[in-house]
């Protein structure tokens, strides 16, 4: 179960037998990679005289825990390998291919150095978070959420937004509790819910007309209303939305809030990691700012997308004390705290970004990248769902479908991804990875492309 964001450092050594692999998918075989690192490593180690061969042993009768028994490998890992094999332009990976901003580098150098920050920068912080970071988050989010916040009670620092989400699920879900979210979704939601023995209930987000724009994808409010019952513990809202790039409008969120109001014990998890990547002069609306919503909303975000440092793994949850406290308590047993030098760096970066036009420039640059890739897709006969935010574009390849040979059991989007990589050297992700099983017929006309790429890459 290698994950899809495996990358270049594995080099061309980790190669999938791609053509044969794609024919057999989704037969759920775990594919073996011919890993040359291991082979040469083994050879080297065997030359040492201290290595004694291990005797064959009776294997323990071990099964993985029931809660993950149903998990199987997804398609993600193979596309990075495939991109490697064909030296394709990698638009699959959901991370930028450029360096972290100059000021982030400088702050990183300083924050990671105890000569600047003192020796305690390398030791445990409080499980709630490093005070410097909690403090600056409070200063920022008090304005953004228009609500007073306490750095000890209303904030929790986590190892990235994904850790935040799973901590929330761990803190509140009992086996069988339901979690409602929209379909398509960030690919991690379903397995995380399953992990805590919860049940996912999806509400489709769909193109409502022949519009080219992600903004015109909508949900049916009645469907949402029906989906939320007294078994529903958490509603996950993701705005700006991954993978469509839709930015939910105030009216749309108010309509959702109206439904939420009828369920006073419902918790809303608002995943807002792309909060700073909103284009077209649209406004990012924070669910916690809507009337009566602060007390029931957990706002999740992270440094990754805002500062192009997806590898730093610093995220946060902001919310009312009554909701944050159980999460702090659950998370203290999961990993206790997050990497302290990184917390310090993020605190400094957040402060510094307030004094510059960094986020304005970022939005401007991203908008240009989005435009460039949309144009490229269009000219190639792939119809983009034009996003107003985030990193990704869904592209409809229906015009090219006749070029593929797809047998009944196979997914067209998977085939197209393979085809695009092999024949044209561009790697993407099949969109059905982000849709529920029921939606696959709709989903498999799309593949997902990342546009957070340098100009050089986008030109290629």
């Amino acid at each position: 179960a290698l994950d899809w964001r495996c990358f270049t450092q594995l080099g061309s050594n980790a190669i999938m037998k791609s053509a044969r692999y794609f024919r057999s998918f989704p037969s759920r075989q775990v594919c073996r990679s011919r890993n040359v690192i291991t082979t040469s490593f083994v050879r080297a180690m065997c030359q040492s005289s201290t290595i004694t061969p291990t005797e064959p042993l009776k294997r323990p009768n071990v099964q993985r825990a029931d809660r993950i028994a149903s998990f199987s490998p997804n398609a993600f890992s193979h596309f990075s390998f495939l991109a490697e094999e064909f030296k394709a332009v990698n638009l699959a990976q959901g991370a930028p291919d450029w360096d972290i901003p100059e000021f982030v580098q400088r702050i990183g150098r300083e924050s990671f150095s105890s000569s600047f920050a003192g020796p305690t920068i390398h030791q445990y912080s409080s499980h709630i978070g490093l005070p410097a970071l909690n403090n600056v988050l409070v200063k920022i989010y008090e304005k953004l959420l228009n609500h007073s916040l306490d750095p000890v009670h209303d904030v929790l620092i986590t190892n990235g937004a994904q850790d935040a989400i799973v901590a929330i699920l761990q803190a509140f879900l009992n086996p069988g509790d339901e979690v409602v979210y929209m379909d398509p979704f960030f690919a991690a939601y379903p397995p995380m819910v399953t992990l805590v023995s919860g049940k996912s209930v999806c509400v489709p987000l769909r193109q409502s007309s022949k519009s080219l724009f992600a903004q015109d994808w909508t949900i049916d409010l009645k469907e949402l209303d029906d989906a939320i019952t007294d078994r529903t513990k958490i509603l996950i809202l993701n705005t700006p939305h991954n993978p469509t790039g839709k930015v939910f409008s105030r009216n749309e969120l108010l309509a959702i809030a109206k439904i939420v109001r009828r369920h006073p014990n419902l918790i809303v998890l608002s995943d807002e990691v792309y909060e700073n990547l909103v284009f077209d002069n649209l406004e990012h609306i924070r669910f916690a700012t809507l009337p009566d919503m602060f007390d029931r909303t957990l706002t999740v975000s992270s440094a990754s997308k805002s500062f192009s440092c997806t590898g730093w793994r610093i995220g946060w949850i902001i919310g009312p004390k009554d909701l944050i406290n159980p999460i702090q308590l659950a998370h203290q047993w999961m990993s206790f705290c997050s990497a302290v030098p990184l917390q310090q760096a993020v605190a400094s970066m957040l402060e510094e970004s307030l004094k510059t036009t960094y986020f304005d420039d970022l939005r401007h640059d991203f908008q240009q990248m989005r435009d460039q890739l949309c144009n490229a897709l269009q000219s190639a006969g792939i119809v983009p769902v034009i996003p107003s935010s985030g990193y990704f574009i869904l592209g409809d390849f229906t015009k090219h479908r006749n070029k593929l040979s797809i047998s009944p059991n196979e997914r067209a989007d998977l085939e197209f991804c393979g085809y695009l990589t092999r024949e044209y050297g561009v790697a993407a992700i099949p969109a059905s990875e982000f849709f529920s099983e029921e939606s696959h017929q709709f989903a498999e006309r799309f593949t997902r492309y990342s546009f957070c790429r340098t100009e050089k890459t986008l030109n290629e």
């Binding site: 825990a65 920068i121 005070p131 009554d322 990497a339 004094k355």
Partner: protein
């Protein structure tokens, strides 16, 4: 404020003004510190336990049932006390001196690395290739077997997460997990979060009331054997042990191994203090015992290895089929660990592995340094009438303090363990903080730990001497009948 839309320019200006006086992060820390102090002063009369109890009717969304009963963490409780009282802190286990230069330098350099911009982006979820390769090389030599870095190593956000994903990935509701006491306090709640049932087996001292060694604390073979059943999924063994400092001998591990093989049990080995063994001691790895590789998970920590507890990086080593479950849990929770940290730790390992066996190697230099500190603390404690248990490994020391506790009216909540009350008294009244060892025992065996205090000695010599002064004064005051 740049995050706020253009419409809110006025807010932007206002916030900038507010922030302009808070440029230096250390000022912010001080500000926060003061803020926290004030809050704590205001709440002094309330319990210092982690805030709201579960199931408060005011909480509209009650916490998950499995989180009930595990709200209290001794670290949270005593860190709050330390913030309030500002004692000399020999409590939580982290060094108060600088981490080794090579890893610190490596971390700073990551931000400078224009060649490899990807060092700040997502890396391989199960472990950064450079790091798992370095770990594979080191542990292949240590365990005398070929370890496949891609299949048999999982990198986690600290040994904490290694333990957590091991439980969640392998333990089903109703499975029993044997925990040897005293245990690092997260084992119990983590087993319960996974729906498992902890079964406790204590190490018992052969004598008290005198200076002893951690080697004298042993498992009763019959008691251990009786703890295994057909429901036992795993046993957790921490060697070197925190808080005792015991280094399990080969014979002791073999006894546990026989039972594991007999009952088809997984051995979860928490070996974070693997490099911290003192003269005459050898750290024995369960995974190297006959028949045990296939059923052993070995957990290590960069925080302990390189004295960088705040880096939160650990690893799990074991056969691929045992790692499968933990890997899935990891993938769908933390998902991937911090890339710059992994790169820096990889560099650290490459350097140390290259000079393995020389006195400059940090894995040798650190325990050599710590042994001197250990011996100093042992003599201090002996002088003041506390009976230390001389640890064979690790950087904690337990001292038997019953005689002293009996001579002081420590006050506090009578429902709380004796050692909790004594540690709080010592912190408030003498400004010296330790950790109460009964936190590392199950409810039924708390009495074993109640007569001790745990002190951490990975601290600057000047601070250890200060602790000595405080304790000497305490002894003088007790002898003079002068203690309040």
């Amino acid at each position: 404020t740049a995050i706020v839309s253009r419409k809110n320019q006025q807010t932007l200006v206002a916030v900038r003004a507010a922030l302009s006086s808070s440029l230096c992060h250390s000022k912010l820390f001080q500000g926060y510190h003061n803020q926290l102090e004030t809050k704590l002063t205001q709440t002094r009369n309330r319990s210092l336990h982690t805030s709201n109890k579960m199931g408060d009717t005011s909480v509209m969304a009650p916490a998950a049932l499995k989180t009930k009963g595990i709200e209290k963490s001794v670290w949270v409780e005593f860190n709050q006390l330390a913030l309030e009282v500002k004692p000399l802190n020999l409590g939580q286990g982290f060094p108060d001196f600088a981490a080794p230069e090579n890893v610190r330098r490596a971390l700073s350099r990551v931000c400078n690395d224009n060649e490899n911009v990807l060092l700040n982006q997502y890396t391989r979820g199960f472990g950064h290739p450079r790091l798992v390769t370095a770990l594979g090389k080191l542990y292949s030599a240590e365990m005398e077997r070929v370890i496949d870095p891609m299949q048999e190593i999982l990198v986690t956000a600290g040994a904490y997460e290694s333990l957590f994903v091991a439980m969640m990935g392998l333990v089903n509701p109703g499975d029993e997990v044997i925990i040897i006491e005293p245990f690092f306090d997260c084992y119990d709640p983590q087993v319960r979060l996974a729906g498992g049932l902890p079964v406790f087996v204590p190490l018992r001292p052969s004598r008290v009331g005198t200076v002893t060694t951690s080697a004298e604390w042993k498992l009763d073979p019959a008691e251990l054997a009786a703890a295994f059943s057909n429901k036992t999924k795993a046993i957790i063994v921490n060697t070197p042990n925190n808080p005792l400092g015991k280094v399990f001998s080969r014979a002791e591990l073999e006894m546990i191994a026989e039972l594991c093989k007999k009952h088809d049990t997984i051995a979860i080995m928490d070996e974070v203090y693997e490099w911290m063994t003192y003269s005459g001691e050898t750290h024995v790895r369960m995974a190297t015992l006959p028949g045990m590789w296939e059923r052993t998970i070995t957990i290590g920590s960069a925080g302990k290895t390189f004295s960088v507890t705040g880096w939160k990086l650990g690893w799990t080593i074991g056969p691929a089929q045992l790692l499968a479950g933990p890997k899935v849990i990891h993938q769908h929770s933390v998902y991937t660990c911090t890339t710059p940290i992994q790169e820096a730790v990889a560099l650290g390992f490459e350097e140390e592995t290259a000079r393995r066996g020389t006195p400059e190697c940090y894995f040798q230099a650190l325990p050599a340094q710590l042994e001197v500190k250990r011996d100093r603390v042992v003599s201090i404690l002996t002088e003041v009438g506390m009976y230390p248990i001389v640890p064979q490994g690790g950087y904690f020391i337990l001292a038997y303090v019953r005689d002293i506790m009996n001579k002081i009216d420590v006050g506090g909540d009578p429902n709380e363990s004796r050692d909790f009350r004594f540690v709080k008294w010592l912190s408030r009244n003498r400004k010296l903080q330790g950790i109460p060892p009964s936190a590392f025992y199950s409810q039924e065996h708390k009495n074993i730990g109640e007569d001790y205090i745990r002190l951490c000695f990975i601290k600057e010599d000047v601070n250890l001497e200060k602790a000595g002064e405080i304790l000497k004064q305490l002894k003088l005051d007790i002898d003079a009948g002068n203690v309040k």
